[in-house]
């Protein structure tokens, strides 16, 4: 039996949901106190517990899956994972909805987005507005002009000997194809040998948060099989959330030596583009910010990469954008408030924000007003 929460309170300040409310019941600790008695791995038993899933659900599910609480916790307890476990045994409609959204409607995203832009704002029912806004920005708004042309410094000794498979993730595959093509072009220019990534499917991260473990495992199995078949090449990733869930395969679907090989193979695209030199273009604004995706954890190479290319990058003080997990579906209002707080964490002079996670780009753009724009860094560099 796993030992649960000690109520030390270390996870309060790091949780973006707690930060919205400053109430203990919204903290990871609070959610655990409600869920652990229902979770058999922590010795819980729903039949004996005084509160059942129905009575704790509305509080317990307020989680964006950002993983910050696990990092802060001395016991490394992941509240997002516990929520996923409880969800797996107590399904709720949002999970089905999200599963459908990711698995079946992927190719339709751009047209869904387009449809959304045609619905006048005033006609969207209020509670659905945040979802509607996300759908709107799913429609590709066309080219962002790059802030810099980059090339590999000829002196740079990047090891390009191993072949690379580019893992693009659902958002890029469905609505931001130019991120994949951009990453592709850059990696080729650096001299990497790229294999066909056509056999990859969704990383499964969102399925995990939704507690759809069956669907998650199927996706994981498919991705791992494809990697094996391709001769275990490097996997280049440009989305922090995809990277986070791919990283989680080790110790789950992959064990032993192969888990180690997998971890060694997973590489952020910004790491592969070591030794980049830049020539700025006129499109580079005077002030710009960086939103740190939660899912790079303590190992965010994108910010180092971008600080070199675009000095003066201003890191926001906000926590999580609120996109993670299935919060978008289960509580769109809270998810939106979190995005707004994240944007409020930048000084007023900044209207261009760059980040390295597909989910953050979608979520923050949906919440951004005026001429504020949030770009993936792949939109801002070109050859």
């Amino acid at each position: 039996m796993k030992r649960g929460c000690t109520q030390c309170g270390e996870c309060l300040n790091v949780c973006p949901v707690y930060r919205q409310f400053t109430r203990e019941e919204y903290s990871p600790k609070g959610k655990r106190l409600l869920m652990e008695p229902l979770a058999p791995e922590f010795g819980g038993d729903e039949r004996a517990a005084e509160l059942n899933w129905e009575s704790v659900r509305s509080l317990a599910r307020l989680c964006a899956g950002c993983d910050r609480c696990r990092k802060a916790c001395a016991r490394k307890l992941s509240t997002a994972d516990l929520l996923a476990d409880v969800r797996a045994t107590h399904p709720h409609w949002t999970q089905h909805f999200w599963q459908l959204w990711i698995a079946r409607m992927g190719p339709l995203w751009p047209s869904l987005g387009l449809m959304a832009t045609l619905v006048p704002d005033g006609l969207t029912p209020k509670p659905l507005k945040p979802l509607h806004d996300t759908a709107k920005i799913l429609a590709d708004r066309g080219e962002a002009r790059p802030w810099g042309r980059i090339r590999k410094n000829p002196e740079s000794r990047t090891d390009v000997s191993k072949p690379v498979l580019l893992f693009s993730g659902c958002t890029a595959n469905n609505v931001r194809k130019k991120w994949s093509s951009g990453a592709n072009d850059l990696l080729l220019a650096w001299g990497y040998e790229l294999s066909d990534p056509g056999g990859f499917v969704c990383c499964g991260g969102t399925m995990h948060h939704a507690g759809r473990y069956g669907a998650q495992r199927a996706m994981e199995g498919q991705n791992v099989e494809y990697w094996r078949k391709s001769g275990k090449p490097r996997i280049a990733v440009f989305c922090a959330s995809c990277f986070h869930s791919l990283h989680g395969y080790a110790g789950g679907v992959l064990t032993g030596n192969e888990a180690g090989e997998w971890l060694a193979a997973l590489t952020p695209v910004s790491v592969l583009l070591a030794g980049a030199e830049v020539e700025h273009t006129e499109a580079k604004p005077a002030a710009y910010g960086y939103h740190q995706p939660c899912h790079w954890g303590d190992n965010d190479n994108d910010i180092k990469f971008l600080q070199r290319l675009f000095p003066g990058l201003h890191k926001g003080t906000g926590l999580c954008c609120g996109m993670g997990g299935i919060l978008q579906m289960s509580n769109p209002g809270l998810s939106r408030r979190m995005a707004e707080s994240t944007l409020d964490g930048f000084p007023g002079a900044i209207s261009r924000i760059v980040t390295g996670c597909s989910g953050c780009v979608m979520q923050l753009n949906a919440a951004a007003g005026g001429d504020m724009r949030i770009e993936h860094w792949l939109d801002l560099v070109s050859l």
Partner: protein
């Protein structure tokens, strides 16, 4: 004492009118969260309220006293002594809705805050202005200032800078009955009347609800340096510390790490020290940028009998040294998945005999004592690990824990240097009968109907 045993409909209406939907909950899921604390003990509550200002606290306390409704004030619930556990069913007052930093002055060296403000957030605000709020409980990121004041929290820096009590210049509290009392003020000196501010510090929520604090700040030292020193035994380590103090050096922190902790550290991670190192001291000194090197050299000269030494001068290097000390708490779980902790204090010169005696008691009950702590102020963390699902282990652990409390008194010590009596400690073992009785009489002057934190504290 007769207390309200449930809330009536008119009680509920009163609370709804006073706190509105956002400041009140009767929801079982919400109440579950507020019915325990870091002691992991639990009690029953009727409601939780979340006042937004002092006026609301006053109206609430007038009502609660008249209706004999028990009140459990709560900061962030990190009490390890069960200070927030509802011993008698009542209403929890969460202060987290009152978390404003009202004023911070670099000329007066004073800050005024509401009690729900997080300690670490406040410290960071002070540091931005070149100021420091020295009390530094290890739980500072998780605690409220109100909670710190009501428990008189202490930390690593206590040896040089003292504990929370030394930094509270004044406070406002709401008494049962609703009267607002203002003690002390913004002056660093004030000897008029009884020092009732000091009564409130460490009172564990038994005298009133703290609604405002006036805190003292000092200039933040420009620089610091740390040294981690290895010895053959705890005996050697502590005698080396004695030499440091005898040479007139007052470190900002002086931590000891006993033999069992060293065993745990070597078993659970990478360790840079040689195998013969069986105990350690970790010193930190602070001061001006120009003089820190000299101070460091002065300290080093006193540590010439060490087997091994590692120095750190900037934040990154110091963090590396401190990471070993910080690792102990989580790493100790290799000795058992559950923990019973002690936070006793002894006079500085008694640390060694006390630790040895505690170890003996633990061994006699088939347990290993994990001893580390603030050597500079004699505060010993005496932790016991066990497996709660093994009844025999759990019983032996509880027995050992109990005996340690008794033993600490033999050394002229205190059964709690930091966490307080809460709902778990039998403070009558330490306090004289007459003194204890006087404390209870004072308590009754503030709270005649004993509605605040009954059966807690003292």
């Amino acid at each position: 004492m007769m207390y309200a045993s449930a809330l009536t409909d008119s009680h509920r209406v009163f609370l709804e009118d006073l706190f509105g939907k956002d400041g009140l909950s009767f929801e079982p899921a919400v109440l579950r969260v507020y019915s325990s604390d870091a002691s992991n003990e639990r009690g029953k509550i009727f409601a939780v309220v979340r006042p937004a200002d002092t006026g609301q606290v006053q109206k609430f306390m007038r009502w609660a006293d008249a209706e004999r409704v028990v009140v459990h004030p709560r900061g962030r619930g990190t009490s390890l002594a069960g200070g927030c556990v509802p011993t008698v069913p009542g209403i929890v007052v969460s202060t987290l809705g009152m978390d404003k930093l009202i004023d911070i002055s670099s000329t007066d060296f004073v800050a005024e805050v509401e009690p729900g403000l997080c300690t670490a957030t406040f410290q960071a605000e002070a540091e931005k202005r070149g100021l420091m709020f020295p009390p530094d409980p290890a739980s500072g990121k998780a605690t409220s200032l109100g909670g710190n004041v009501c428990t008189c929290a202490g930390g690593l820096r206590a040896v040089k800078y003292g504990v929370t009590r030394d930094y509270v210049l004044g406070c406002e509290i709401v008494l049962p009955g609703g009267q607002l009392m203002k003690f002390g003020g913004r002056t660093q000196k004030d000897v008029v009347g009884l020092d009732l501010t000091r009564f409130v510090v460490g009172s564990e929520g038994t005298l009133g609800i703290v609604t405002r604090l006036i805190l003292k700040l000092i200039p933040k030292p420009e620089a610091s340096a740390s040294v981690l020193v290895g010895y053959r035994s705890l005996d050697d380590a502590l005698s080396s510390m004695t030499k440091v103090f005898a040479a007139g050096i007052l470190p900002a922190a002086a931590e000891f790490i006993g033999e069992t902790c060293m065993d745990i550290l070597t078993r659970t991670g990478e360790c840079p020290w040689p195998g013969e190192v069986k105990a350690m001291m970790l010193f930190q000194i602070d001061g001006g940028r120009e003089t820190i090197g000299l101070e460091n050299a002065r300290l080093s000269r006193q540590l010439d009998d060490a087997l091994w030494k590692m120095e750190g001068v900037d934040k990154e290097e110091e963090d590396r040294l401190w990471s070993f000390r910080r690792r102990i708490s989580a790493a100790s779980y290799v000795l058992g998945p559950d923990r019973m902790g002690g936070d006793m204090a002894v006079p500085r010169g008694k640390i060694l005999p006390a630790v040895r005696r505690f170890e003996e008691i633990a061994a006699a009950n088939g347990k290993r004592l994990v001893a580390f702590g603030h050597a500079g102020d004699g505060n010993i963390h005496a932790n016991l690990h066990y497996d709660a699902s093994d009844p025999d282990d759990a019983a032996r652990t509880a027995k050992t824990h109990h005996k340690l409390d008794k033993a600490v008194l033999e050394f002229g010590g205190s059964i709690s240097g930091e966490h307080g009596g809460g709902s778990l400690k039998d403070v009558g073992r330490q306090l004289g009968a007459g003194e204890h009785e006087l404390m209870l009489r004072i308590r009754k002057l503030f709270d005649p109907n004993l509605i605040l934190n009954p059966k807690k504290g003292y």
